[in-house]
Symmetry: D2
């Protein structure tokens, strides 16, 4: 890494949550960025270690980020907090990367439909860029408000969009996306549903056909809602998303044929890894990395195909992708701090 | 339970395995049966408790079961052991319930195709009855050799067969069965793949489109192989199978309409439980029980439907169903020892 | 079980908690008892299974238990609820078995010292009997208010009391009790500390030298507080307590010598199991059982001794022991419903 | 890091094991070192990712390491393999850091006593340096054969040695070390004992009073074997060691007094972190780091004291400490690649 690159100050709101903490961890190793904890409400520090960390702190206010010289802010917050803070921080001159769902959909109406609440910053939709670098790289480079994709949609879109674009999916059968996530995807909070005894030695499905991440897959991959069946499920692990994606081929195709579609699309992508035909990733392959791993099996005679897409929901599905986006907006190497 | 019913002696081969141990646990509480441990090869007792269990033991030989007065034998063994022991024990006068895959398929050729080895007891196929009581109850009552269904097929067939029979599945889209199992399904043995560190905080797919349990689903449910996509996956838990089954309805149907199909089929079944429309089971609901729980969600406008079917792989998926079958062959109440 | 024994109606308050649910499970299989759910505040039923359970319900009031014909009530509640309900139910004629800490210590002052709050039913201390059957069996038989022991103290007292009584513990070195518990010991509630992501792949110590279960061990085992070091620790599992108990022998003693002390004490105890010298229990041996398993190792030359004591915190450490006590007060066989 | 430092080639034997894989991960991020996989027997690469890693490979032979220009070799192997390879690699001019137990004890006789087998390279004892940098830093800097400490002893010695040296431990009561480890400590191999279903939802003690790591604690901390009670226990997690260490103070001492002993000892240590008096670490605090975290509670009136020491068994307990030692021998900053 050339040492002439400047050091950027990156603020994090929501640093006690899982995504926020992951962002701090990545930024602490980043050659060109330094994290600054932006204190919002009761983000107290539970650590009792005597020699304390030297990470800087500032209030999560426009004044706070100005006086701390913050170049960009990561909002690892709930949508309602993001809708409140994003306009203020943009006005204060910072680039904003929002990890919530506040700006992922294309209109305030769609937001209201899927999130069941009014959008309180509708004026920002025009400038928000959907931060999936593999498809929006150029727009991200010039954006000042980046909406970081949801965890499930990241794994789904990277696997599905090339298939739809290549016309290999039989639309009559549609696409089934059976998605499984570790528990950190639910955020860091007290909740009976995510308490240890309810989750351990269990496996459960939720939000069948109506998860709020569905519209992100529709708008990015090009699949129709009527042709897309999505189920979210909870694995008793901390982190990781694995999605089993089923479709029927529109024309005869071997696993190698389908793999070739991905190879053409992702030949130069630093964070998408493909597997030999017939082999698929598991979660250990991607945990604590910013990779999306994709593998597949197919039966050319009957046209059945299964793609497995795996990410770490806190890295490529949240903080890692946010920093990939950050690198792009700051003109840094896209992989800085992420390999 | 009327006290006039006799006590039957039930032998178990493979009692150190997970299914065998589960069978002993159930039989130890059974009002009309007593377990007898049939010692085969090195089934040693690792317990160091001073006051030892009083369960009887006998050699796993024809002479052993005769002298021990065994009425029925559960074979919780690998297929090759079952093919060896089943004919001997049948000749010795015992009813045999085989928990392996040796006699589940309909011909030796199909066995060879899916299990990749010659069948060494082809003469027994004619008398083997597939032990899924919800569909074969009368045949089971009169059978002397019962082939206990596989764990994945039990959850799949109970969910899929009524749908196929009702003509509600659009054959062009087919059925996707995304199946997840706890690790005990792999049996009790030293293996790197099922070692703790490889499994914990992981989730992995295997045998995509070619799992040997697929033909059991085809022959029982009536779905065509070309229309059936099946993936097996490993959950980092001890026990339980949850299958997410996707199809598109052949005609407009609400969740309540599909639920009504199940209600008609399973109104009097003691071990199938249905959930209110829109609600689905998790694994905690079925672990350590002989129930198969079924729930579903559907979108009548687009025809997308998702059924969740859950069992305990060691109970309804193995030892529990074996004892349900045993009760039927012995003329006992079907639920004896199982509620 | 002689069929002439009557069926007793047993009320449970707090049936949505882990101990309460365990009590219902045990009572549902009990040959002489039937559970009745006593509804207190918001004990809602989350199950969406269509064919509902037939367990009776009644309000958790004196009128409720009278009209439901309740013989005995299990209070699986917080101490403050137990202090409120116990006197009312006793007045209504029911036997009360309290699973909270409200009546475990010997005086209201000790309660205030360890539980940091005033006792609101001090008049009941005189009649409360500490429900550890292995030591208080006769008093329990005649009690109307039984204080069910804490989970940690049950495993500790059964291991430590015979050692102290036999004079085998060197008082200068004292006793170390390093205790580990599954997460269900913390109760069923929303809490960040017991949320899945905080607990999984973790291990943590808490309440070192000041856990409120300590005085129960002191008063029952006879060890002095100054000679007793106790640490509670959280294992990332659902259930089970394992305590590693260290002492130095006051006189030369082999493992067999120490084991003989336990054998004399527990020869006829149905729920204490001992292990061959040098062998110790793990948690799988006791989960879902009412057993306390004890094993030990010792070095006669240096006088070091280690005892391992294991129970299921929800069974012998809570609901199972409560029903063992219930059986005693109702004149039923002590093991009814528990083997 | 000054860019003028050279890049060292570091060979790893046993790179498919957990410690070896951890070493590769750390070295891949190290600013001055590059890993080279030394292939020994069947270290096959299971990865099916198309774009393969670019890590160099060489045979695990003297010729292999010479032609690959290896400066130092990490032996993440069993003792018998280390005894075979260490002399060969030393002769070939490489520095050897051995992660096995082959050279940790002070004489071949002690090795035979605790490891139950003959030592086959007794001539190397004279030059082997015990690689605990906090105590042997200067010797390590000049060593060519470093014996990397065991995982349990690392956590134990860092906690116990300052106490013994300060004379704060009452020798009559001795020290109890109740140690718990994640399953990766048992190595990567097929074994029923460490299979998922045997370990999950379990907790078990093993090698009570006779674990082969005990002599490492005795020789480094200065505690007598007769005064040291050690139990190893298995936590159902992947990685991490937490040790609860009990002693009675030889003179009146508060938690702050004991903490001050540690503060004096470890004021300038980069990898030992202390906690405020009364607070203790959990495993999440140390996983994936090279820190040893130490916290404690004490009761000055009765003299009871409890110290909690926590490390990641694969990092400070194995690969991380090996690279800390490597840095010292190569003249690199001690923390390079480790923060």
């Amino acid at each position: 890494m050339p040492s002439s690159l400047p050091t950027f100050q990156i603020g994090i709101v929501g640093f006690t949550g899982y995504s926020g903490a992951e962002a701090i961890k990545i930024l602490s190793r980043h050659p060109n960025c330094e994290p600054v904890l932006l204190e919002h409400r009761a983000d107290s520090d539970p650590s009792k270690i005597l020699r304390k960390s030297s990470i800087r702190r500032a209030p999560a206010t426009p004044e706070g980020i100005e006086s701390a010289g913050i170049h960009a802010v990561l909002l690892a917050t709930a949508p309602e907090v993001s809708m409140d803070l994003a306009p203020k921080f943009l006005n204060a001159g910072a680039i904003v990367i929002d990890l919530s769902g506040a700006f992922r959909l294309q209109t305030p109406d769609r937001y209201k439909h899927w999130y069941k609440e009014e959008h309180t910053a509708p004026g920002l939709f025009a400038q928000a860029v959907y931060g999936l670098p593999e498809y929006n790289r150029d727009q991200i480079r010039n954006a000042r408000l980046i909406s970081n994709p949801g965890c499930y949609p990241t794994a789904a879109n990277l696997a599905i969009r090339p298939l739809v674009a290549a016309g290999i999916v039989d639309p009559k059968a549609g696409i089934v996306c059976d998605a499984k996530s570790g528990v950190s995807g639910a955020g860091r909070k007290a909740s009976l549903k995510t308490s240890f005894c309810e989750v351990t030695e269990n496996f459960s499905a939720y939000s069948i056909l109506r998860h709020r991440h569905i519209p992100e897959v529709l708008q990015t991959s090009g699949i129709e809602e009527s042709a897309f069946s999505f189920t979210a499920q909870l694995i008793p692990i901390e982190r990781g998303i694995l999605e089993s994606i089923y479709f029927r081929t529109a024309r005869q195709a071997t696993a190698a044929d389908i793999l070739a579609i991905y190879q053409r699309q992702y030949a130069n992508e630093p964070f998408v890894r493909l597997y030999e035909a017939g082999h698929v990733p598991d979660l250990h392959a991607v945990q604590h990395t910013n990779f999306c791993d994709i593998g597949l099996a197919a039966d050319p005679i009957t046209g059945r195909a299964v793609v497995i897409s795996a990410i770490d929901n806190l890295v490529k599905g949240a903080a890692g992708q946010a920093i990939q986006n950050l690198n792009l907006t700051l003109g840094l190497p896209e992989t800085a701090g992420l390999l």
